[in-house]
Symmetry: C2
DNA sequence: TGTTTACACTAGCGCTTGCTTGGTTATGCT
DNA sequence: AGCATAACCAAGCAAGCGCTAGTGTAAACA
């Protein structure tokens, strides 16, 4: 019941369906068909439908966390570079792992109590990373305001992009990140 | 089938249930019970379940639009005052009409094609208002960046507040609006 | 060679869903 | 008084839901 390569693949397919139809409207039969098996076979890989949702969100969040940490290690250590790296990493995960993140954003409330508690820790770790980077930028005088408030405003702006951002359009995540950081930092430095 | 006072009341109750349970998990029987009638009677007021969702979102959006327009008329005509008035109005609607807005944010995709088309116009009108105010602030040199991009970033930051903002907490919408505007405007003016 | 393990199948149980039907009661106008 | 209309109810249909039980099969291991 733990994670096999097959389960990974199924989780990816499930994420896609959850985005298209929403969690509640996605039936186990639809999931099974998309996976090329019968509905009964699905419960060999997942205990119940809830566990599929949990798996989708967990993988998405874990990827986001990993990518953010890599980005921080790879970039320069100036507060501005770190801020930019975080924003860019966030936007890139939002694209490469789009389905999982849309599910995490829109179907969070369908999680039962224990799944939610488990995943909350992951999400909190990610937000703590943001607060750390934002805090450093504040101390350096790069931006101004309250650490938690700024973190939340920025995360909101970034997450909202899934509503309007078109990957086929002219802007890259790199540019988008730069424009966001430019918006909250004074023009003359 | 059009809007009676009773229908208004029912719409308000529906919004509350949709927030608690989500649209798909809210059954017509739950709706009816909350309204103090039997499930069959529900279809005297609404053609089908979809129409209830549509009514909830329509009223929320129309209120937001009205309140934003009032706020703009009531405030000073400087770009900064107008920006602040819009942010504050948005946060206040998000509070007073919280249920309807949460539904609009999270259950938008459950709308069928025609409802969505109808409501898109309302939403576009609201966003156009923001773009106008942001555009003026840009021309006045108050903020910098792209008109559409800034509008979307700001709207994202504001809408995200429904995830974390606690009305019982120490911050008022007024303060929150001020802090957001401060974040995107250079400190020295 | 015999046994285990992983994965899939068929069949269907018990329950809930949105919505309809056909009829009853309350309100208010003429 | 007579009538129209709005609001409601009890009962239930057809479809679909998540999930279970029991079985088959092919590869991996002893």
């Amino acid at each position: 019941m733990n994670d096999s390569p097959r389960r990974r693949e199924l989780t990816r397919l499930a994420a896609q369906l959850f985005v298209q139809e929403g969690f509640d409207r996605t039936t186990v039969r639809m999931l099974a068909q998309e996976m090329g098996i019968k509905s009964g076979s699905l419960f060999h890989h997942f205990r119940d439908k809830q566990e599929i949702l949990c798996a989708v969100i967990e993988e998405g969040t874990q990827n986001a966390l990993a990518i953010a940490r890599e980005a921080l290690e790879a970039c320069a250590s100036t507060p501005e570079a770190r801020l930019h790296a975080m924003a860019r990493a966030h936007l890139e995960t939002l694209l490469t792992d789009r389905n999982a993140h849309v599910v995490a954003l829109y179907e969070w409330r369908r999680l039962d109590a224990e799944s939610r508690a488990h995943l909350s820790h992951l999400r909190d770790a990610y937000e703590a990373l943001w607060q750390e980077v934002v805090g450093d930028a504040l101390e350096a005088g790069l931006i101004h305001g309250d650490k938690f408030l700024v973190s939340r405003f920025v995360l909101g702006a970034l997450n909202w992009t899934v509503r309007w951002y078109d990957p086929e359009g002219s802007r890259t995540p790199e540019e988008l990140a730069r424009e966001l950081i430019a918006m909250i930092t004074p023009p003359a430095r």
